[in-house]
Amino acid sequence: MGSRRHPNRSLLLFCLPALVVYALFKLFPAGAGLVYALTDWNGLNRDYDFVGLRNFAEIFHDRYYWDSVLFTCKYTAVMVVVSNVLALGLAVAIESRRRAKGFFRTVFYMPNMISMVIGGYMWMFIFTKVLYYLADNYGMKFLDRSWIGDPRYSFIAICVVAAWGAVGYLMIIYMAALQGVPRELKEAAAIDGAGGWISFWKIVLPMIRHAVTICVFWALNAGFQVFDVIYALTGGGPGRATQSVAINIYEEAFRGNIRYGYATAKSTVLFIIVLVITMLQLYLTGRKEQEL
């Protein structure tokens, strides 16, 4: 038996297929990115030269890049709060009743099945046609806004569509967690005179802390990578007013400029930002769980 005498050899053989595709399409690009970020590689010339840290110096002064970083942070902050509050609210509402649980769960999760590109285009119809129609014919004047064309409102439009797509997913996770809260605990609290609100804050929420961590983490991660919704709704416009970092990098590399080296430097900075936030969160949640 070869595997008994050489455990590592058989281990490597079994890991080989996964290791090959993983190295080629994930590890190598990640490493190569760090190298390309130091070059002036573009889509026009075959060769490229090393330019040291010049790309990073340029990023430092690239107003559009920092605008997109700021936009992404704002978007992520709003989405983390809004989608989690809505998802938890829906999950609690559904779990608190006996009837029609399955129906509501089915409906709320449905948008998550559909690509955000398709969902985004469907909402585009709502924002550019239906809302105007309602405003003109039913006197709902507050709907008469340039939802896609005015950056103030298109930010709202983007958040609405993104929340529409994400809430169902988070709700499923919260529902699974809520089902794990023992009924006796809530009943005991009710006997001790705790109302619904107090028992939610003091008993239910601490019991589903794990799910909250997962959902916040997921929303943070999804927020920083946001691409599809914005691509479908505004394309980053008007101008560059709703560009996320991913859209900014995509434009730099594949639209117009084709400056791959510079765009790679931008994506390296994005990675560092995500890494710092992840570390910070792991540190904070780790500390909190130790406290408890």
């Binding site: 455990p7 590592n8 281990l11 993983y22 994930k26 390309y36 709502i126 014919n137 499923i172 997962i214």
Partner: protein
């Protein structure tokens, strides 16, 4: 007490119903208006269509090469998920059963990259597909998805294998099974529950992924459903009846998939999320 309960019911069900209407609103509006003529749509976007006509669907079905795009998406997701499951189950099982320094290192190596955002590796990855001549190859793209997807799947398999008793493998070895035979005959069937979860989450991911095909696929004959829909949206900028019928056609496969496997999907989603 009874009255209080009734008010609670009305409030909660009212809230849920309103939320459900908002959720379904874009889908229903798209569906309803996709049956209208352009004239009808101009007159009113919220009136019911005067008749159920499939003219728009006939028009876009051909224009977006529906069957070809659907076939491409099926091939891409099917092969991609097949590769992820095979590669990760092989690796995840051995990684769990081997207790050496190398196995610890490999597991960490597979897991650490889950932090890297896709847009951070997008451009070098684009170059890799050019160098390996995988651009515009659906099979090649399926291997790329395998590379991006194995981390999570190995992590899940590795965790699941811990719960499988070692005796089964030892018995198989005594019966003269080689490691590969043991894997396919004994282990793989036992992994079924977690394989279902991995299968569902990855099919949905690859099916709905937009950015990677957008970057790598430029040949319109290799377009996925999303790419065809996106192109059509650009061509028919304000012909909403055509666009809406295309959107419904593009959403149809996942809606059918959802209707058929709803239970498994919802179970897989929450398990995949909680264990990841």
């Amino acid at each position: 007490m009874k009255r209080k309960r009734l008010i609670g019911d009305i409030l909660v069900y009212g809230f849920l119903t309103a939320a459900a209407l908002v959720t379904l609103f874009p889908l229903l509006m798209a569906l309803m208006n996709s049956f209208k003529t352009n004239g009808e749509l101009l007159t009113s976007v919220i009136a019911l269509p005067t008749a159920v006509r499939f003219d728009n669907y006939v028009r876009t079905f051909e224009k977006m090469h529906y069957l070809r795009s659907l076939g491409n998406t099926v091939i891409l997701s099917g092969v991609g998920v097949g590769l992820i499951i095979l590669f990760s189950a092989l690796a995840g099982w051995k990684l769990c059963r081997t207790k050496t320094r190398l196995s610890g290192f490999l597991l960490k190596l597979f897991i650490f990259s889950m932090l890297i955002p896709f847009s951070s590796i997008m451009i070098p990855l684009y170059r890799v597909t050019l160098l390996l001549k995988l651009k515009n190859s659906l099979l090649g793209l399926a291997f790329v998805y395998a590379g991006l997807g194995v981390s999570m799947a190995i992590f899940l398999y590795n965790g699941f294998v811990k719960s499988i008793p070692l005796e089964l493998e030892e018995a198989a070895a005594i019966d003269g099974c080689g490691p590969l035979q043991t894997f396919f005959v004994v282990i793989l069937p036992l992994l079924k529950p977690i394989t279902a979860t991995i299968c569902i989450t990855n099919v949905l991911w690859i099916w709905n992924d937009f950015l990677l095909p957008l970057v790598v696929v430029s040949d319109s004959r290799k377009y996925t459903l999303l790419l065809s829909t996106n192109t059509l949206f650009g061509q028919y900028s304000s012909d909403w009846t055509a666009i809406l019928s295309a959107l419904i056609l593009a959403a149809l496969p996942v809606i059918v998939f959802y209707a058929l496997f709803q239970k498994q999907i919802l179970k897989g989603i929450s398990e995949g999320a909680v264990k990841g």
